[in-house]
Symmetry: C2
Subunit: 414 residues, 2 copies
């Protein structure tokens, strides 16, 4: 048997005060025909990363709806995960020479996990490249199979895509995060797009009262009486934290006393982030109004939440971005965002909703300054941002999309 | 100039609702003669570890009292810190061969930092071994010097202690965390003990409303309707997380549905913790009621706070412990503790206050079970625990102790 992650049920009703009765009712209607259906959601890991966060939120909701949804984890050794990490990066465009040993490692573990998977499901949703070949080795097994790709495969390493294609083509549906992320030339009778979403009840997004936010900020060294701009993102060159510091310095000329917080998670196995962290430590030395806040000093999801909440402006200066869901996280707190026009960001905000889209450092500084000086307008943008998230980027919408997709597969003849 | 960490002032008044008018008044009286005095607090790092957490809390309080207190950081390269890490471990008893190159590295950086230190302070409080030799190289410089040792030096590596002694003996006072931590044979005219303390306004200890605690637990997979025991400690053999799992399994025989949460910070440069983490992951596989929660998945200070708060019993099963301040953190939340009789733990709790002291796994299981079955008594113990912390282990008491020490040095003739 594949390992089960028992997350228990969560009643959809908990979301009703946030999304409204109508949305809850719609989801119940979508779920009704699937009552009693057995769904497996399969990924590589219980903890860490966006996919496990998503499953931790959505699997209990399925269960709360009376759908038997199991979250299953594949089983494999570290060498397998070294290979799949390389495949993952290669599908996002990194150079990689796929050797025979790596192929074998991947195929062997996929066969093994396919055998471990119980043949008792009506629908099997497989996430990302690690477990993707299970369908191929398992056969249909009486189920409808969905591959859910969470990464940007718009410019994949061609050899790796070619290796993966036979496994992907076996699925009944392939789901991508944005149309733009679909690999060029991929043809499949059922290509779908489901944009990601945030869980308004998770520690990162739950409602905190303003007092707690200010206390957290104050203890971390933020003066609540002076303006604060923040960026929440990995210390990674593509997120351009150095550019954010440039923006801060430009704006600070006009707004003395401005403070900057840069929040990042630092993973042990991410040397690039470590290098960037050290560069940033050197860069900010001597300026006590720049705060580098990381998980290394106890900054966790709730504190990210608090900083997104209590900042005057949040910047997302990514040069390259996946979907950039952190923008929706921020908008959910009614905080105005100034963000680079990259990845999925323009899909989430802009045109009078949530903040301003920009294309370079000068524009970013200009619009940040503008928001700091036009508080009423900033507030209006922030309010519209939250409303946009409520309409389009909450987990309930994603759940509805998934239920629709699953139902549509159920209806098709075998 | 040594690098300054600008943390701003924090009014003592913020603590009055917690500690009472009398304590605040006493601190004001202790501070009054020192008004205008200039104090430097010197340590090795702005972020990470207990000392920087302490300074982040206490330096603003000095400033709020009208005492000019600067937090200063020494400046040195990575090789220096490799040496001081070894010295630190050796002073705690680890084997270490102190080579000439290491001595030189340490002395060179100490001389350099002594030169960087401005000669404008009345009192200089130096924390831990890294900056300890600065006094030796700086000379008195018109100031009173205090060395504040935060580690257990009761069984030091003798060669390293011998190397450090000349630097330590130059201080006007040496402060240890517990009498028991003073190195054997150390003679000094002014040896003091100041036990550590928690900051009730920090993210780890601030008041959270119960709803938030339960929401955080629920999202992390805890069923609020079933009992929960927790241990918060590094995944380190000395903290005996495997023993905690044994306790959980023993108690679960009597209390079906019992849940266990093990919370730890995992540092990138701590291979022992990584090894233990992997062992634990294997150990808990298949039991979804054991939760390994770390900073890697966004568990930060506020979430540690929430888990200490919403647990039915917190275990601290350390085989060896320093002061074990996490016990006071827990007691502050009125949660009963079952803890091994090790390090500074018996100083904090026991005898009807805070919970039960135990000596082995069976006793630990027995007392945990007892507390789960005797809720009223557990509540009474918890309440007494919070009161004990309020009296003895809050940052205000530590501040008063430090002010008394500083004043006493001021009174002595030069």
């Amino acid at each position: 048997m594949l390992e089960l992650v028992d997350v228990g049920p969560r009643p959809l009703k908990q979301y009703e005060p946030i999304v409204g009765e109508e949305v809850v009712e719609e989801i119940r209607e979508l779920a009704a025909p699937l009552k009693g259906a057995r769904i497996a959601q399969i990924n590589a890991t219980t903890y860490g990363g966006g996919v496990s966060e998503l499953l931790r939120s959505i699997v209990p909701l399925y269960r709360g709806l009376g759908i038997e949804c199991d979250w299953k984890i594949i089983s494999a050794g570290p060498k397998f995960f070294t290979v799949t990490k390389a495949l993952h990066n290669a599908l996002q465009g990194a150079p990689y020479e796929l050797r025979e040993a790596a192929r074998e490692r991947y195929l062997m573990a996929s066969t093994y996990n396919a055998q471990l998977l119980e043949a008792e499901y009506d629908f099997i949703i497989v996430h990302d490249p690690q477990p993707a070949a299970m369908r191929y080795f398992k056969g249909r097994a009486g189920a409808r199979w969905i591959w859910r790709c969470h990464i940007d495969t718009s410019e994949p390493n061609e050899a790796v895509l070619e290796f993966m294609l036979p496994f992907l083509l076996e699925y009944d549906a392939l789901v991508f995060t944005m149309d733009h992320f679909v690999p060029p030339g991929l043809e499949h009778q059922r290509l779908a797009t489901i944009v990601p979403a945030i869980d308004p009840l998770s520690p990162k997004n739950m409602a905190l009262d303003g007092g707690i936010c200010d206390e957290i900020g104050a203890w971390r060294g933020i003066d609540p009486n002076r303006p604060l701009v923040t960026q929440v993102s990995r210390f990674d060159p593509w997120k351009d934290p150095m550019g954010v510091i440039d923006v801060y310095r430009l704006v600070r000329k006009e707004v003395p006393g401005l403070q900057l917080a840069l929040l990042s998670t630092i993973a042990h196995d991410d040397p690039e982030v470590w290098d960037m962290y050290k560069i940033l430590v050197d860069e900010v030395r001597g300026d006590d109004d720049i705060h580098l806040l990381t998980n290394l000093i106890g900054v966790g999801d709730v504190e990210v939440n608090a900083f997104q909440d209590c900042s005057d402006v949040v910047i997302q200066k990514s040069i390259r971005e996946g979907f950039g869901l952190v923008v929706s996280e921020t908008m959910w707190k009614e905080t105005p965002v100034v963000a680079n026009r990259s990845g999925g960001i323009p899909l989430q905000m802009g045109d009078g909703v949530g903040g301003f889209l920009v294309d370079n450092t000068e524009e970013c500084a200009e619009q940040t300054l503008y928001l700091l000086r036009h508080r009423d307008e900033a507030r209006t943008l922030g309010l519209a941002g939250r409303e946009r998230v409520r309409q389009r980027f909450l987990i309930t919408r994603l759940l509805a999309d998934e239920l629709r997709l699953v139902s549509s597969l159920a209806l098709r003849s075998t």
